[in-house]
């Protein structure tokens, strides 16, 4: 007996999953809010050590990638397969650039002695070490999501190429894109909170 497809159900499921991701990061944002209100000055001082250029560039990159992912969805609805593949390729490329930037940025910061439990932070005021610990955890967790999202989109792209995902059945692509947008959403909040607190 064949079961009929339920795209709306699948999308509902994806949204529910996105809620859980939101709450996962929610715990970290909660801590951020609490510690910011306790150590405003230390947070500002620590925020000044961040590389705003990297942050801004990565924000632009993620926004672009998100736009490309949305384009892919529009394209598949119109049955423009080449455009789907190009957009997904662009999204994944952006993900890769984003991670590469992160790598550069973290190397720079770590070489300056900012990492959890580092001697430099241990010597500084308590609020700063809290800031950097939160920063590494939040951004690290986000980076993990970028990695997962990128992999997911590559997998989807392969299925598009094979014709498994097509204009008549593209909920997989839609869900993949939704996940990617969430990754973008989280970054939209990380960026001002960690880079622009001056």
């Amino acid at each position: 007996m064949s079961r009929h497809r339920d795209d709306t159900g699948a999308k509902l499921g994806m949204w529910l999953f996105l809620f859980t991701e939101l709450f996962l990061f929610g715990g970290l944002f909660l801590l951020y809010a609490v510690y910011l209100s306790r150590y405003p000055r230390e947070f500002a001082a620590a925020g000044r050590e961040m590389h705003v250029v990297f942050g801004t560039a990565n924000t632009a990159i993620l926004i672009t990638s998100s736009m490309l992912a949305a384009t892919a969805v529009s394209a598949i609805q119109r049955d423009e397969r080449r455009r789907v593949l190009w957009s997904l390729g662009g999204t994944v490329l952006c993900a890769a650039i984003f991670l590469f930037n992160k790598y550069l940025e973290w190397s720079a910061e770590i070489s300056h002695g900012f990492y959890p439990n580092s001697p430099r932070l241990a010597a500084g005021p308590p609020g700063e070490s809290v800031f950097f610990s939160l920063y590494y955890l939040t951004v690290g967790l986000h980076g993990l999501h970028v990695l997962i999202g990128g992999t997911l989109l590559i997998w989807v792209a392969v299925r598009v190429r094979r014709g498994v995902v097509h204009s008549g059945d593209y909920v997989l692509l839609e869900n993949g894109a939704l996940y990617w947008h969430l990754v973008d959403l989280i970054w939209i909040f990380i960026f001002p909170l960690y880079y622009l607190i001056l």
């Binding site: 959403l185 939209i188 960026f191």
Partner: protein, 95 residues
């Protein structure tokens, strides 16, 4: 159960427009941060971030074209998250 309603297709033009707005808002938030020192601007940057995420959710994520159910669920989830964070401040602020 699955009456296939024809899905709403976003035009590329609209997507580009949203994209440009998002980039502009990013520039704005960086600019504000550099010209407006102080804790008060935390709220400013958060407001901009909320605006940006609203755009992403409404257009990129198609929420504008979804049914009532999803919108309600999203609203509920966000409200609960806000409560989790907000209620913690009953402790943190008055300790």
């Amino acid at each position: 159960m699955t009456h296939e309603q024809t899905p709403h297709i976003l035009s590329y033009g609209k997507l580009t427009l949203v994209w440009l707005t998002l980039l502009a808002l990013t520039a704005l938030t960086v600019w504000v941060a550099h010209h407006n020192v102080g804790i008060g601007h935390v709220w400013g940057s958060l407001a901009i971030a909320c605006l940006k995420s609203g755009l992403v959710i409404a257009f990129f994520m198609h929420m504008k074209y979804e049914g009532r159910l999803l919108r309600w669920l999203l609203f509920t989830a966000l409200a609960i998250l806000a409560i989790f964070i907000g209620f913690t401040f009953f402790d943190v602020l008055y300790r």
